[in-house]
């Protein structure tokens, strides 16, 4: 505790979500739902009618808002905007890819794991460590 310097806000930050309806409803029951004065929510329910543009906009909005610390995104939704998710590399807000009801979690598609895959490659480790 002593060597920990608090840089970020002491205030609570939100958890944003881009996921299917059931996941959003469940997490809202856990109390993460927030509606601000401009009637902006911290979640986006993705269904068959949701366009990729809407998902992109929501992702950009959630990753730029200062009051959001974690963005949860269903992995199948993240696959729709993979280029955006992979190019995001800030520590806060943290992007977490979560499983959804119809699409189980696949570690090979996770943006964080594919970023650190470099160290699992035998050649890179061998040339680096010897």
């Amino acid at each position: 505790m002593a060597n920990r310097a608090q840089i970020a806000t002491n205030n609570s930050a939100l958890i944003a979500m881009i996921a299917d309806e059931d996941t959003i409803v469940g997490l809202l029951m856990a109390g993460v739902g927030n509606v601000d004065l401009r009637r902006k929510t911290n979640y986006l329910i993705v269904d068959s009618k949701t366009t990729v543009k809407q998902i992109e906009d929501a992702f950009k909005e959630f990753t730029t808002r200062e009051d959001i610390a974690i963005v949860l995104i269903s992995q199948y939704v993240a696959n729709m905007i993979r280029f955006l998710v992979d190019s995001y590399n800030k520590p806060v807000p943290a992007i977490l890819e979560i499983p959804s009801k119809d699409h189980p979690y696949d570690p090979t598609q996770d943006s964080v794991l594919s970023r650190v895959k470099y160290l699992f490659s035998a050649e890179s480790v061998a040339s680096g460590r010897r």
């Binding site: 060597n3 840089i7 806000t9 996941t23 809202l28 109390g31 974690i70 520590p91 964080v112 460590r129």
Partner: protein, 296 residues
């Protein structure tokens, strides 16, 4: 004489990558995957409970259209701390603050422990009864009373959130709520693991890049590498590469240099390691030459 000089030539390998960084990285990656696995099963349970509740209450009573769109703040949020690790890069740390609206001043009711969990039937007093120590239980009475108050408030908060689905709700909906709360705790742990993994990864990566730049450096007290080309005759010379104490498990490498190729000596090793040995232009002042060992 020069041959002898060259024979006893010692090169110090700059072994920069700390094993602990690599271990930390592997540990956090392992935890990340394990936590995601447990998240999957928790969420699956939540979806199942939600589906059962929907089945018994009717699809029109549980859906996204009923969500509260009035202005309200989140009852559960996260607090972000930035941790300085070796002052190299910042590593954010996330702390879950459950039912923040319950927390007023001293009743800072939060933290992940609480969710493990406090099912409606379990209360602090029940746990105390099993302890059997009367003195202890007396001391704890006031504490447990406060705890019960907080539990009551949490129950109210939970009920308030479920009230959007009506007053008479399926018990499975409450079970689903608990599952999603647990999932939320796991998610915050995953976020912490993610930041630990990325920060250790950055550190290892940085050091590996640095290591590639000057893999082998020559200590100033020793004869610099030029003797190598000056050695007369053909044959093999041995060069001992010594590792820094950081790499405790890295044994010294005994390398044989084929002196026939003086301009661009090629190393063959006695163990499984091999690579070429290339001279680099002096960087750090006159009298010191640098050689880089390029493993193949």
């Amino acid at each position: 004489m020069e041959e002898q000089e060259a024979t006893g030539f010692e090169i110090e390998v700059r072994k920069v990558v700390g094993d602990e960084d690599v271990l930390r990285f592997m540990d956090s990656t392992d935890s990340y995957l394990t936590l995601l696995d447990s998240l999957s099963s928790t969420l699956r349970q939540g979806w199942l409970d939600l589906a059962i509740a929907r089945q018994s209450m009717g699809a029109s009573r549980i859906n996204g259209a009923l969500l509260d769109h009035k202005v309200h703040s989140a009852a559960t949020s996260v607090q972000v701390d930035q941790e300085d690790v070796d002052s190299m890069e910042a590593q954010p740390r996330f702390i879950l603050r459950k039912w923040a609206s319950v927390a007023d001043g001293k009743q800072c009711y939060e933290e992940q422990k609480l969710g493990e969990d406090k099912l409606p039937g379990k209360s602090g007093s029940l746990q105390l009864r099993h302890r059997g120590d009367s003195q202890l239980s007396e001391e704890k009475t006031s504490e447990s009373g406060a705890q019960l108050d907080v539990d009551d408030q949490v129950q109210k908060e939970r009920a308030k959130l479920l009230s959007m689905f009506g007053t008479l709700i399926s018990p499975k909906l409450r079970a689903a709520q608990l599952s999603f709360e647990t999932a939320l705790e796991t998610l915050v742990e995953i976020a912490n693991m993610r930041s630990a993994m990325l920060s250790s990864y950055d550190r290892v990566r940085k050091e590996l890049d640095h290591q590639k730049d000057d893999m082998v450096s020559v200590p100033s007290g020793h004869t610099p590498p030029p003797p190598l080309p000056r050695v007369r005759g053909k044959g093999k010379q041995s060069i001992l590469l010594l590792s820094q104490p950081l790499a405790s498990r890295c044994c010294p490498l005994l390398l044989d240099v084929d002196l026939a190729c003086r301009e661009d000596p090629v190393m063959t090793t006695k163990d499984h390691r091999c690579g070429s040995f290339k001279k680099k232009a002096p960087k750090r002042g006159a009298g010191e030459s640098y050689w880089s060992f390029l493993p193949t």
